[in-house]
């Protein structure tokens, strides 16, 4: 479902030198598979997800999703691909403050080809236990509730692949497990492949497949 081949990503530094962040010779995830990628802060976890999602273009290499070579797509096509096939859950939730919980979830299906389905948005919020807080703004929700809305938004567009960037890093221990369970169960129910990056071993050990970024990212091992 997802294949990374020789993916490299580097940034130009102010002194003109290149800073290599990613160098992944090979990485693959099957359809509906759940993978946790573990790595310390600054080892390129977020950049890896950005490259997979098409938010950042790799400096070189290929990212294939469901047979589509992302490098061959125009930027607008990548945006549409992301809108229709990829879900994203951020570490800092990134809910839009002016929108209600329901509207934030609807936003997840606004930019694709699918019509925004209010029923699905409600269903997802019910699924994450927030059916009674549809009209609440993010500031009226607890941190754990905000992340649950973000999970619902990530799944709103019926993605094939859900990328979760440290989804438990900013929530309390009580909510951590709820979020992980929600992600795993809903991805399983909806047959969505999940790549979750984390630095927390207690999160990682709940997954059958654990990948250590220090091992798959040569840019990190060579530093």
């Amino acid at each position: 479902m997802l294949q990374l081949e020789d993916v490299k990503k580097s940034f130009l530094q102010p002194d003109g030198s290149e800073l290599r962040i990613l160098d992944v010779p090979e990485f693959a995830v099957g359809a509906g598979e759940q993978v946790v990628v573990v790595g310390r802060s600054g080892c390129g976890k977020t950049t890896l997800l950005h490259v997979i999602a098409g938010i950042s273009r790799p400096t070189s290499g290929r990212v294939r999703i469901d047979g589509w070579d992302m490098a061959l797509l125009e930027e607008a096509e990548v945006d549409r691909f992301r809108a229709e096939r990829i879900g994203y859950v951020f570490q800092t939730f990134n809910l839009l403050p002016g929108f209600s919980a329901l509207e934030n979830v609807l936003l997840g299906m606004t930019f694709g080809k699918l019509r925004a389905e209010r029923d699905r948005a409600r269903q997802l919020l019910n699924r994450v236990g927030l059916g009674h807080r549809l009209t609440h703004k993010p500031t009226q929700l607890s941190v754990g509730e905000q992340q649950r809305v973000a999970v619902a938004r990530g799944l709103a567009n019926r993605p094939q692949l859900l990328l979760a960037d440290e989804p438990t890093a900013n929530v309390d221990i009580g909510n951590q497990q709820t979020i992980i369970d929600l992600l795993r169960e809903t991805c399983q129910e909806e047959k969505v492949a999940l790549i979750l990056v984390t630095h927390a071993p207690e999160v990682a050990e709940q997954f059958e497949r654990i990948e250590y970024l220090e091992k798959i990212n040569l840019a990190w091992t060579s530093r």
Partner: protein, 438 residues
Amino acid sequence: MSLWKIAWRSIQQRSLASGLTALSMALGVALVVAVLVIYGVLSQSFRRSAQGYDLILGAKGSRLELVLSTVFHLGRPTANIPAKDYYTVVKRYEAEMLAIPMCMGDTFKQHRVIGTTPDMFDELEYMDGKKYQLQEGGRNFAWEGYYEAVIGSTVARRTGLKVGDTFRPVHGDALGHRDQHDFTVVGVLEPTGTPNDRAIFVNIEGFYELHKQEAAGGDDGGHGKAEELAGGAGAGKPASSSAGRGLRYDESREVTAVLVLFRTPNMPRRIAIPKEINRDHELQLQAVAPAEEVTKLFEGIVGNIQWILLFLAILIVIVAGIGILVSIYNSMSDRRHEIAIMRALGARRVTVMMIVLCESILLALGGGAIGVLLGHGLTGLLAPVIAQQTGVAVSPLQFQTSELILIPGLILLASAVGYLPAVVAYRTDVAQSLIASP
């Protein structure tokens, strides 16, 4: 969810800044609307009032002054013309036109009192196809009813006069001395929307009788020629002919103006008659086409003033538009993160650009809508002043078709001023903005 809704949420989120920006737009649009409505109504009303008569005959001098005084009852009455000239014209063109004499110079509670014949309401139309109507219980003054009067609807409302009431006019303005005879109101006109609503019409014979008595009493009240309407040496002479329909023949009399309605459908004659009158140097009068003078007035002086006012109002709208630009542009640094989130959710660059443009258009149109309401409210506030000065009733509910130009105009302005912040949204670096703290 539509892009409009996303844009609206963004406006709501910055409600104070957005509200103030929309308000500045509203004020600009209100001025544009007020100028358009007031000019439109004035122009319409003046043109409509001028429609009722084909020609005005009056003393030589300013043509515009003659029209303003005779048709719109504005300013002081012009100098009088000898009645013999009136008789001459009437006799010469008897088959081709109806000529209705008018005498002015008296007032009642600041309303002009006009001496005329019953033809004024029996024969004339105040607008094409619309004859004067009298309110229930009233009638036109009779030829032989020398001291009868018909009053305009505004006069009735302001003075409280009704059918059966009597009143005594005053020479000249309110400071003049009172006449020596009462007039009886026999009819109240239905509203016509013309300056005649605020005038009082009395039988011209009664008007002459009144002033003849005063002349005999040796009191001219210190007023000018316009008030010296009573016959001089020949006054009181038995009527020897009726060259002027219903107006007793008396060469020593004077009239202030004559309203002319063509009877001939022959267009070349209609054009030729005023020229013939104006070329006849023996006549101490001129013929003026009121519609022509009103058009000149509006296309010349008033039209230019309207353009100057419109230009200033449009400048205010443009400044308000720049306010929208500044408001949205300043918010862009705070909103980069939100834009990046939308991009991460699959929004294309063009989509986020459109959202910013939608926001600009919503602010402009929202402010514009409030401005239209404010503008009409302002018109309503100014209506009494306009009515006082010009006699034109301006309703705050009168919409001008020219106001419709505001919709595409505001969309165009909003698109222009929204373009710069939209480009900033377009260029937002998603990855960098997502990593940066919100």
